[in-house]
Subunit: 356 residues, 2 copies
Amino acid sequence: MKAVRTGSNMSAIAAALGVSAATVSNALSGKGRVSPELVEKVRAKAAELGYVPSLTARALRTGRTGVLGLVLPDIANPLFPQIAQAIENAASNAGFGVLIADSRGDIGQQTEAINRLLERGVDGMVIVPRRGTRIADVGCPVAVIDTPSTPGNTVSADHWDGGAQMGRHLAAFGHRKVLLIGTGSSSNVQNDRIGGLKAGLGAEVECETLWIEKVEALSGKGCPLGLVAKARAGFTAFAAVSDLSALRALTELQRAGIRVPEMVSVTGFDDLVWSPVVTPALTTMRMDMAQIADLAVAALTGAIEAAGGIEPETAEKVSSARDRVPMQLIVRQSSGVPNSHAQTSTIKPTAGELTR
Amino acid sequence: MKAVRTGSNMSAIAAALGVSAATVSNALSGKGRVSPELVEKVRAKAAELGYVPSLTARALRTGRTGVLGLVLPDIANPLFPQIAQAIENAASNAGFGVLIADSRGDIGQQTEAINRLLERGVDGMVIVPRRGTRIADVGCPVAVIDTPSTPGNTVSADHWDGGAQMGRHLAAFGHRKVLLIGTGSSSNVQNDRIGGLKAGLGAEVECETLWIEKVEALSGKGCPLGLVAKARAGFTAFAAVSDLSALRALTELQRAGIRVPEMVSVTGFDDLVWSPVVTPALTTMRMDMAQIADLAVAALTGAIEAAGGIEPETAEKVSSARDRVPMQLIVRQSSGVPNSHAQTSTIKPTAGELTR
DNA sequence: CTATCCTGATTAAACGTTTAAGCAGGGTCC
DNA sequence: GGACCCTGCTTAAACGTTTAATCAGGATAG
């Protein structure tokens, strides 16, 4: 039994009013030629009968399902909630539903997920690609959310500029030796951010990049990153390229008695849920997900609209508005002037001298 | 132009083989009476033409869309990725697509979201209700994921037992004064966990419950929770009812120089992404989301299956298998014997935290 | 007064499936 | 050898829309 079956369809309304179903359709859609008073009567009757149009039938007839697919590399990703929420919101405002598909990391599953969506007849899809993946031609309009460095129809935050902003922020505090922390070098997003970070810090700042995947490959998952040694070696700022890594850094340093931000600064990216509530609250870089989602969905709906008469081939290219939206620096407590209270080299887990 | 339009439908296959479309349908579905060799020929031709059945047309004919709705109280919730991923996986294994709907916290939007899904013709929906919400009768099978305390057709983790396990874990370490930390008392899940916690700790352990919403109502969002004072007052364990709160506690204590787990223990719930990678890694309680999702989806598909001939009224009740799946204790580094290395009482008052 | 046009409706086909009902032919049973 | 059943297929209707084509009738123009 189908959902929401109130038993009323267009024919019911038509019968009740003694007109034809086509007229009802025209009246409700405002397309054909129907007298104003009849339109009103149809509307009233529809409301009275609790008429709900069958989107399925409409989809069959028009070839449009009104559904967008959302392909995610790994739903477990902590950034995902923001993306999904923003896309769902934008899509729903545009009158579209959102079908999700998780590619669970695997790249093979990614194409499989895309196919599942295609079979379900989505009108378009937004894809957050698995790292380093290029999206081959799909049979429908596609918007990719990744980084501007990715070839293809992309809309994304301006990760590079975000990195640059953060770099300038740290440089302004006087940091001269900063450790850049990323997960893995295969991510376009992270590479962009790191590139921006270096540029923002400027030439006179000494930088080193630590890839977590590399140290975990040696010492096992979840192992210490050796940041305490780095701090002792003179690094005064730890700029992670994701809040997850920043949190990891923060707790590792704190645990060793290194005070943040008095002794060293720690910054992240993405403004994930916990960032405002940890102590000290994380200085981070936020993307305007709402805007990104709006752009992606707008590109999609535009392409879908345009695809009405045109070849599928050209339709796909229409969505290629390549947009980058600025990131916003969120300054909180985890960044500051380096070494303001103590030398990291003599650190012991004392509980004193805490200044806010 | 519809997606994946290879231009081949059943009629194309039928025409190519000189048979009727109905026969093709029967051959592919294995339903009617078709000779084995013809079945084979049809299969071959279908493959050759790259035939993809139109789920839309099928939905129109059968009244089943093959889509499940997933209603979430707030996608931004950090637990959401786990849920969504598990549901998507289970649904996709069962041959269903998943349409998401975010109710953005608001309860009005929750019913609106449900309606959107109904209009799209979902065959069933799994709802993670907004705190304290009861789900009214919907027009389709529904599975609720919340807590066994919630009235209705519920499948969930056994939050109470999870709390009890954690309580026993802490009691076994010798903790005798523990602070229970929750977000707000309106959450069924959190109440269950706290109840279990108290039971697991036993009567001789002194307990106090701290609701974050209450202290934030006074001191503002993201404010310190005053845990340092609690530690000084003799609390040796901080059992949060969510990893987010646990993280907040951990960083707040660490920041003040209180060592975890040497001086006090901190535990959480849900095993969120960051829990294994912070220092010290969080001892927490994990739900078997995969199993929960499987149960929910199984209940749904069962109800959908059964709804074939029956009244919608009864159909809805079919999904009422009320299941609770056990939680699993994940022991990591943040819990241990209290005061093993130092006395919290000798910690000097810190300028910031205490006087706040 | 007739030819034409516009209005407000109707009719019918189409989208791609599923499925009940029907039908021809060959085999079986008595 | 006729009644009957089983097999393998076809026909046709149906799901609920949209939309092109058609049509009756009144107004307008020449």
